[in-house]
């Protein structure tokens, strides 16, 4: 049985080393790495040379030097005597503020528009379609400048502010609202809120256990509503309403007291909300449409009420489709908030890459730090998204 083809001596010899894919890959990668290393070495060398030639100092020493400028809106105490490091923090907080508020408003508006587009009411669904097709096809920067200039241009001067109940004022310099002053007794209300939240979790857990054991349902939603809202309210009034309001008062030239929402924030927020909501609406629509009609029919035929069908069958399945693209829209909103620089809202880019960079000239450090902040948040969010996808993905057969 000696088939010549099975004779090992006639097997082709090993390919020469330059034709072996393994060595080729290795060679190519070494080449790539050394080219990159040379590239970065040149860049670093050039940068250092350029910096010494221009007399710019390097390192992060500037972060502790006094900033010497004021910022329009600060969530933490800040004036020109604070350091550049502090101004960085102010910028980050302002970015997070507008992002957080933007996410809340854009989600609300986006869900409403998305559902409206699926409505069987012809007029409503057409209006939603026009909204989506208009606002997502106009660059965000134009929208931001438009809303901002509309606010600044069409609102009255401080003296002629629009006022509501003599405590809310709307004028060119923004919206003035009463700000709360917490008194010492307020701590009990705070404790009540925390107890309410913990209690809700316990209640939910207990209700599920009971339903699994006995099949009886418990009105969880209503009881949680009571726990979270009524309990703190009750405590609040029992302790004698320990909160007073610092109401803005119209002086001769200016409004005194209260808190001011600057027009830059309002304009940016309106534009971000309207723009992002158009994208979220499309996501919501596709998510709801992805749940096949058979699911609802099946749920109703096993006796679930329409409300239960929506809550237990349709929404959980729609969310699985909605949440990943929704997260990336949130991420886009976060990155888009950097356009604040165009209208002078003091976000991270405006404060740090704008003013601080102009004052110190340390471009490399400042650009690197700013990018690192955005990168960090982006990576955190995409890590969450991967985790969520892995948890929620359908496991089929």
């Amino acid at each position: 049985m000696s088939d010549p083809r099975h004779n090992s001596s006639e097997l082709p010899s090993k390919p020469p080393i330059w034709n072996d894919p393994k060595y080729r890959a290795m060679f190519f990668q070494i080449l790539l790495v050394s080219a990159l290393a040379y590239f970065f070495y040149t860049i670093v060398q050039n940068t250092l040379d350029n910096m010494t030639a221009r007399g710019v100092s390097t390192g992060f020493g500037f972060m502790s030097e006094p900033a010497g400028f004021d910022i329009l809106q600060t969530l933490i105490p800040f004036d020109s005597t604070y350091s550049f490091g502090r101004s960085f923090l102010v910028g980050v907080l302002n970015t997070l503020l507008v992002t957080g508020l933007g996410i809340i408003f854009a989600t609300l508006l986006g869900f409403i528009i998305g559902v409206a587009r699926l409505s069987n009411n012809w007029l409503i669904s057409k209006i939603a379609t026009v909204y989506i097709e208009t606002f997502r096809n106009i660059p965000l920067l134009i929208q931001i400048i438009f809303w901002y200039s509309l606010i600044v241009g069409s609102l009255p001067a401080v003296r002629n502010s629009f006022s509501l109940f003599d405590s809310f004022f709307l004028n060119q310099r923004g919206i003035n609202i009463p700000s709360p002053i917490y008194e010492s007794g307020f701590i009990y209300t705070g404790i009540a809120i925390i107890i309410g939240i913990i209690g809700s979790f316990v209640l939910k857990w207990w209700a599920r256990k009971r339903q699994e054991a006995t099949g009886q349902q418990f009105p969880v939603f209503l009881s949680i509503l009571c726990l979270i809202i009524l309990l703190p309210l009750l405590v609040f009034f029992i302790t004698g309403s320990p909160i007073t309001w610092d109401v803005p008062k119209l002086g001769r030239f200016n409004l005194q007291g209260g808190a001011t929402v600057i027009p830059e924030l309002v304009g940016l927020l309106i534009a971000l909300t309207i723009y992002t909501a158009a994208f979220i609406a499309e996501i919501v629509r596709s998510g709801i449409k992805a749940v096949s009609h058979g699911q609802s029919e099946a749920a109703l035929s096993v006796g679930l009420t329409p409300g239960q069908n929506l809550r237990l069958v349709v929404i959980p399945q729609a969310l699985r489709v909605i949440i990943p693209p929704l997260t990336s829209q949130y991420l886009n909103l976060f990155k888009n908030s950097s356009l604040a620089a165009a209208i002078g809202y003091p976000d991270l880019v405006a404060v740090f890459m704008g003013t601080t960079l102009n004052q110190t000239g340390q471009a490399v450090e400042i650009v690197a730090v700013t990018m690192a902040v955005y990168l960090l948040v982006s990576l955190l969010i995409s890590m969450f998204m991967n985790w969520y996808n892995a948890r929620m993905s359908l496991v089929e057969r």
């Binding site: 990159l36 009411n121 096809n137």
Partner: protein
């Protein structure tokens, strides 16, 4: 007993289930909630639409030599829009500071591009790939020599003078062209078996996708000069372009990767079994199929890039928005017509983006073969 051997004629539908009344019933007034919604929406439309139309069309001043024609005698502005703000200097919104005598050059380049692209939309056009290759590889050089000049007896027009819609189009077209090239390479790198190539591609892609474009533009305008040896100067437009290309390549790479992943494994294996090398199997088998799949995604990326070009305003280039904001809007003779300028810019961008998105949707429907993988 009634018997008939004839087929009776069809009865007309009941009067309440046809016609306009029926349509209104079903689509607008089916139930109390919908009735309330319809009335509310109709009221809002009534409040918003007529004034908007009046402002934009009926009361508008379309052409005027001076801004006084848009104003009342007491100096207040008239109720309607003042489109004369745009029409009066329309050329500038299109070309920026490009010298008037030379404007035939960008026009010629634009017309060439349109004429070259039209045949690509016809299904039956033979030798499409040659035409496509010509547009991607040869035409950009022709356009560059035409618009910038400097040879063939054309005078040099410095990039600092480019502006308006022309600059917006140049930035986005050049951006997508280079991004397509680098993005495809990055996508292949991310799918490569070589660990170092793969991880470098991943890092590159995730880095640029994780930062906002405005920081990238800042970086390229502030840091690029530092990276280069002393004395090398770089055009402002070129610096912005580098930033945009780096940024956009990462997004294109992810779109192309989606296409590569959608190609069944059998195609890769078949290519390898035929004895094709890596590059041959990619260029002859995989990429032609993958690119066809991702065209709608690429159009969407291009729309995003097109909208993002407005950001060059922040680093001091004069694209369409910047011309309107910072040149026309800063003209003392025409102060106070900011809104008109923004509405015009919004309309131009909307027109481009909307038609592209419609095209991409139509393409998606056409390419959707109905089966997944």
């Amino acid at each position: 007993m009634y018997v008939t051997d004839k087929i009776l004629p069809e009865l007309a539908a009941p009067s309440n289930s046809k016609g306009i009344v029926h349509w209104f019933r079903v689509n607008l007034f089916n139930g109390p909630f919908n009735t309330i919604f319809t009335l509310l929406a109709a009221y809002v439309l009534y409040k918003v639409l007529p004034p908007a139309i009046e402002w934009a069309f009926i009361d508008a001043t379309w052409f005027a030599e001076t801004s006084s024609e848009c104003k009342l005698e007491n100096g207040d502005r008239k109720d309607g829009a003042c489109w004369a703000f745009i029409t009066n200097r329309f050329d500038q919104t299109m070309y920026g500071f490009y010298p008037e005598a030379e404007r035939w050059r960008p026009n010629l380049a634009g017309i060439m591009l349109v004429l070259l692209t039209i045949p690509l939309f016809f299904e039956k056009m033979p030798k499409k790939q040659w035409l496509g290759g010509f547009i991607l590889l040869v035409f950009p050089f022709i356009a560059y020599f035409l618009i910038r000049g400097g040879s063939f007896g054309l005078s040099i027009v410095d990039t600092g003078k480019w502006g308006g819609l022309m600059l917006t189009l140049i930035i986005s077209l050049v951006g997508i062209l280079f991004a397509l090239f680098f993005g495809t390479i990055l996508a292949l790198g991310r799918r490569s078996n070589m660990p170092i190539v793969k991880s470098l591609s991943v890092v590159f892609i995730e880095f640029w996708r994780g930062v906002p474009l405005i920081t990238v533009l800042f970086m390229s305008s502030v840091m690029l000069p530092l990276f280069l040896p002393e004395g090398t100067t770089f055009d402002k437009l070129a610096r912005a372009m580098i930033g945009i290309i780096l940024f956009q390549s990462a997004y294109v790479a992810e779109v192309v990767r989606g296409g590569l992943q959608a190609i069944p494994k059998g195609q890769y294996e078949a290519a390898a079994a035929m004895g094709l090398s890596y590059w041959k199997s990619m260029f002859l088998i995989i990429l032609p199929q993958a690119m066809k799949l991702v065209i709608p995604g690429l159009v969407n990326t291009f729309i995003a890039l097109f909208k993002d070009t407005t950001l060059v305003l922040i680093i001091g280039l004069f694209d369409l928005l910047a011309i309107i904001e910072n040149v026309l809007g800063a003209d003392n003779a025409w102060l106070g017509f900011h809104t008109e300028g923004l509405v015009f810019a919004a309309f131009v961008f909307w027109l481009f983006c909307f038609s592209m998105s419609r095209y991409s949707m139509a393409l998606e429907r056409k390419l959707d073969t109905g089966h997944r993988n």
